[in-house]
Every structure is written in C-alpha cells, then in structure tokens.
C-alpha cells in the first residue's frame, strides 16, 4: 500500500502527525524540482534526516554548531576524514574532545533544521519507504515528533489554511487520549498553555479565545497547532445537538417506538444481506 502524495494536498505537518500516531518506521522522501530531503523514523520517532544537496559529515556539523574551530575542523578532516560519523564520534568521545551528549545535541538541532525547511514547503512529492532505514554508519537520534510538530507549526503563517481547517469557532475542544504523552513534557508556548487549561467540552473555541484575550486568528493558530500535534480534536459542545443555528430545522416526527424502529432497520438489514 502506498503512502505518497503531494505536500500541496497533505501538508508536512499532517504527515509528521500521521507518522507519529501510526508509530511508523521507514524513510520519508520529499522532493521538489530543486531538492530532495530524506527523513528516517523509528517507531514514530525521528531518527535521521538528510538534505540531498548537503553532504555534511559529523565534522562539518560540529563546526557549524561551534563545537569545533575552523582549525580543528581542518585538522580532523585531514587525519580522520576517512572515518564514518559513528567511528569519528567514538574517537572524539574517547579522546575527551566532546561528550556524547554534545554530539547528539548537535545532531538533533541539525536534523530539526532540515525538518523546519520542510515545514515551509507548500509543494513537493512525498513517499514513505517502509523498508528503508538510515545508513548504518550514520549517527541517529530518537526524538519525539510532538515537539517538532509544534515548533514547525509556529514557523508557519497559514491563515487561509487555518480558516479552512477551523471554520467554525462555535465548536468545542476535547483532549485525545495519547498514551505515554505527558503534556508537561511538551514545549508549549504561553498561549498554548492558557488554551489547554481552558479546554472544556462545554466551552466553545470562541469562548476560550475571549477568556484568554486571543484574536480569532490567534486562537485558530493555537488550536491548529494542538490538533496537528494530535493532542486535541474539535467536537460539538456538550448539550448542543444542532451546533449551526442557520441549519436548525424542526425535527421530523418520530414515526414509532423503539421496537418498531428496530424492526424497520432489521428489515433493511435482511434485505441488503439478500441482495
């Protein structure tokens, strides 16, 4: 079965959310005419990312994040440039040059930067290759996607899309059961924390915005971030059977009691079974 399409129709944020919720393992390849980016995942966690146009090895990455000076970079390239990233990392750790934590931290930022590029792509063909894992000689990480998704959506200016995603602010929000996810561990900004603390099935999004002094656009952006991170979903406010007043119409009469209604449905079931 395919998991492929175009970011124009299915955004990178939505893709990450899907990979996260489905605990997927494999490599997502996204390409536009100028660039190809590969991002690998293990059980729904970010493991590795590579920008096809950049051939950064560990030395270049450490230099980019000021863990190595230009002179050190030059010297290491001359002496150890033939080593794989994993071998080189071990050498640097064993030589007390750097700690493992520092190397992993640099890799995480490097990978996150690559993903942040993808958040800005509005178009690009994507495919998910389930059998493809990161190269064995590369250093991998294990990063939760929720924070990456939240950070990525903060980067975006997607007002039109927001309106499309959340057209009706008179609906309410509810939390989605996310086993193993602790909200306190997520990097929420102040607005998101305020909105989360206001979520109640009986309170509309508009009321949450009003009580937190957020504009319609701000509340849409916050709710969209939380939805894209798979934390909340939109629901009809409790006690409101017809949420859209303009569509409210008088109910049709109920023709009979429960027994008669069930009998009618059972007749339909039997008829369809017999087709």
């Amino acid at each position: 079965m395919a998991l492929k399409g175009n970011l124009r129709d299915f955004s990178f944020t939505q893709l990450l959310n899907l990979i996260n919720l489905a605990h997927k393992t494999g490599t997502l390849v996204v390409e536009n005419p100028a660039e190809v980016i590969s991002v690998s995942f293990r059980e729904g966690k970010l493991a590795y990312a590579q920008d096809g146009n950049e051939k950064d090895n560990l030395i270049a990455i450490l230099h980019r994040f000021n863990r190595l000076s230009s002179a050190q970079q030059h010297a290491l390239n001359e002496r150890l440039g033939h080593m794989s990233d994993k071998e080189l990392g071990l050498v640097l750790i064993n030589a007390n040059y750097l700690e493992q934590r520092e190397i992993l931290s640099c890799m995480q930022v490097y990978f996150t930067d690559i993903l942040n590029q993808l958040f800005t792509w509005v178009e690009g063909l994507f495919r998910f290759e389930t059998d493809r894992l990161p190269p064995a000689d590369k250093i991998t990480v294990r990063m939760d996607l929720e924070n990456i998704i939240l950070a990525g959506t903060h980067l975006l200016q997607e007002e039109d899309q927001l309106l499309d995603e959340i057209p009706n602010l008179d609906l309410a929000l509810k939390f989605i059961d996310c086993a193993g996810v602790n909200i306190r561990d997520l990097n929420l900004n102040a607005q998101e924390r305020r909105v989360i603390s206001s979520i109640n099935p009986g309170i509309s999004i508009r009321q949450i915005a009003s009580s937190n002094q957020l504009s319609e656009n701000e509340i849409r952006r916050v709710v969209n971030s939380l939805m894209q991170a798979g934390m909340v979903e939109i629901m009809r406010p409790e006690g409101l059977r017809h949420p859209l007043p303009i569509l409210n119409r008088p109910s049709r009469p109920v023709p009979a009691g429960i027994t008669a209604q069930k009998s009618l449905i059972n007749r339909l079931i039997n008829r369809i079974r017999a087709i």
Binding site: L3, G5, F10, L18, D164, P255, I258, Q261, K262, L268
Partner: protein, 200 residues
C-alpha cells in the same frame, strides 16, 4: 408505503455513482453532465444534482440511496438531500490524498445537518496507490469509534458491507436511546422530480 433514505456523500470522483449503482435495483437515476472544466477532466461526466438508487425491502418499505454531487459549487444540494436521512456514508477515494481534506469538510457538514449515524468508506482500495486504512484514519482524523471501511464501489459485496455496517450503527444508536427522529414517512423524502428522468 414508507420510504427511508441513506445519503452517499463524498468528494468529486470518490465513486458515489458507482457505489449506488452496485446495489440499486433500478438503473441509477443520474444527473450527470459532461465535464467542461479542464482541471476536473479526470472523468468524462459528473453528478450535478444527485444520484438516485432504490432498494425495495417489501411491499411497505423502500430504501432510497441518494448520492450527492461532489463538486463544491453544487453543495447547496447537500442540505436538501440530508433532510430526513437515516444515516450517511462518506465515500473517500483512498488513492487521492488531495481529497481527504474535502472529505473531512463534507463529513463535518453532514454531521452538523443531523445527528444521524454515519460510516466512512475508503473506496478504490484495489488501486496500487491506495493508502492503508490505518493511515487514512489518521489523515481523516477519525476517532477509533468511527467505522472506516475498506471498499471497492464496483464490488457489490463491499457496498453491501458498508450499508450493513451503517445499519448496525443505526441499530446501536436506537439502543442507545437516540431514536430515529429523522425517519420520514409517506414519501416525504422524495424530491420533486420524476423517477422516469433519464441522464442527458
């Protein structure tokens, strides 16, 4: 004669006409027109008002299947078709993720029309490009209680299964005390057009 109806909704080219045709005992009364827009030339014709199929249950009961037009500019028809429905099916083309957002919008719109049971059918599961059901559930943001059923709209048994699952959900809703407040009687469901209409 009592008539009841089920609405089959979904984005453009999701397979609604084929779905109804697979189980209807009459040739589907269709309002298809030739497509003129280049951007929509993925098929030759499209439904502009509704599709209409019929399943006679017995002498006293008839089930009508109404297919909605998939294009947004005909969505004024949706509310008319939704009135009095027993429940609805949202049909989604599993191989076209670009239509998933529209499918969600249609689902939310019909849920707002009436609190009737519904199922989502992932059509064209026989296509190589089809997304897996689990991935579609996440992409469509369906919770685990919503029935998402794989199907191929041209396969009668698949369509029967989708309709049966919807009817089972309606039974569950009755048991839960929701009642069928939208069931209508005495042909009130029928829009005012002749059943002898034929496609152009």
């Amino acid at each position: 004669m009592q008539t009841v109806k089920i609405v089959v909704a979904g984005p453009f080219n999701a397979g609604k006409t084929a779905f109804i045709q697979s189980v209807s005992e009459i040739d589907v009364v269709s309002t298809e027109r030739r497509i003129t827009s280049q951007s929509e030339r993925v098929k030759e014709t499209t439904t502009v008002a509704m599709d209409f199929g019929r399943i006679t249950v017995d002498r006293n009961l008839v089930l009508y299947l109404f297919g909605t037009p998939g294009q947004r500019r005909f969505d004024f028809m949706w509310e008319i078709l939704a009135e009095g429905m027993l429940g609805f099916v949202v049909l989604v083309d599993s191989s076209r993720p670009e239509t998933f957002r529209e499918a969600r919008r249609i689902l939310e719109t019909f849920r707002a029309y009436a609190p009737t049971p519904y199922v989502v059918a992932a059509n064209k599961q026989d296509c190589q490009e089809a997304w897996e059901i689990g991935d579609m559930r996440i992409a469509l943001r369906l919770d685990s209680r919503t029935k998402l059923l794989p199907c191929v709209a041209t396969v009668k048994n698949d369509v029967k299964n989708v309709l049966l699952e919807l009817l089972y959900s309606i039974l569950e809703a009755i048991d839960a005390g929701m009642g069928l407040n939208s069931i209508t009687s005495r042909d009130k469901n029928l829009p005012s057009f002749s059943l002898n209409n034929t496609p152009a």
